[in-house]
Symmetry: C2
Subunit: 180 residues, 2 copies
Amino acid sequence: MLYLVKRKEALLAPLAEALAVAAAEVKVCTSCGNIDTIDPCSICQDQSRDITTLIVVADVADLWALERTEAHRARYHVLGGVLSALDGVGPSDLSIAALVERCRNEPIEEVILAIGATIEGQTTAHYIIDQLDQLVRPSPPLRVSRLAHGVPVGGELEYLDEGTVSAALRARTPVSGGPR
Amino acid sequence: MLYLVKRKEALLAPLAEALAVAAAEVKVCTSCGNIDTIDPCSICQDQSRDITTLIVVADVADLWALERTEAHRARYHVLGGVLSALDGVGPSDLSIAALVERCRNEPIEEVILAIGATIEGQTTAHYIIDQLDQLVRPSPPLRVSRLAHGVPVGGELEYLDEGTVSAALRARTPVSGGPR
């Protein structure tokens, strides 16, 4: 801070200005919860994306992590956190009702729950699955899936926790022989 | 070391004795490569285990990691390392030929490649798959599978590498709706 104040003409004033511009320009997308300078955000406006798949994430940082992979060009829904009894975060604090509404009104066929494998993340995923199971909507039926659990890329067995190793063992993938 | 020398009667002599006993007692299992005081090791001798499944690991430490999970009471095959051009480890340095022999002679139906998701680990897995594909043996056909790749338990998306996130997204698991 002292560094900035000492050079206030060169650094502090432009920084203040840039922050003011950012504060004025940045908007939260009313559809998905992403952060962008336009609303709806550029992802929601992108016509080339697969609109039948909705990827549910806890946070905008997770959305960006998924976008970096370029694995699946679909649309997103940002919950704004995960359920947490300790931090007093209940279902009404997250945009779960909005998610259910989107599943009712949009031509979504698959919901991918891309929520971290933490206790809170899994609790949130279960709650959402329950809510979507109760959703009455015209066919096609809504498919709900979650990210695979397993060994991270570059991971060595010896350093992984037991839960991950046994999840990876249970969900093993055939690579040759027999019916695939 | 100085600490040990200063108390040589109380500490150094018993330590030397314990190491000598360990050196004399510990054996490498001639069947699977595990370390035990008996040969064949207690896992290979355990009649209650599933003898139709063979879990292939790079190292004894990985075998112990899998045993801790208690997820699958099968038998093991320890390769003694992974293929590595940098370290000059070739197929003949690992017990791959012994693995192929076991698959020919034992009533094994499934080989699970529980090798780390590193470059060397995956190269080793591909080499083994090739070798086992060429194996001619009476039916049933040998199934080969590998550990699932994905989000480790407790993992948050934001901190995971792109390879893991996209592997987890591709290998997503249905949790409700549609055909499971």
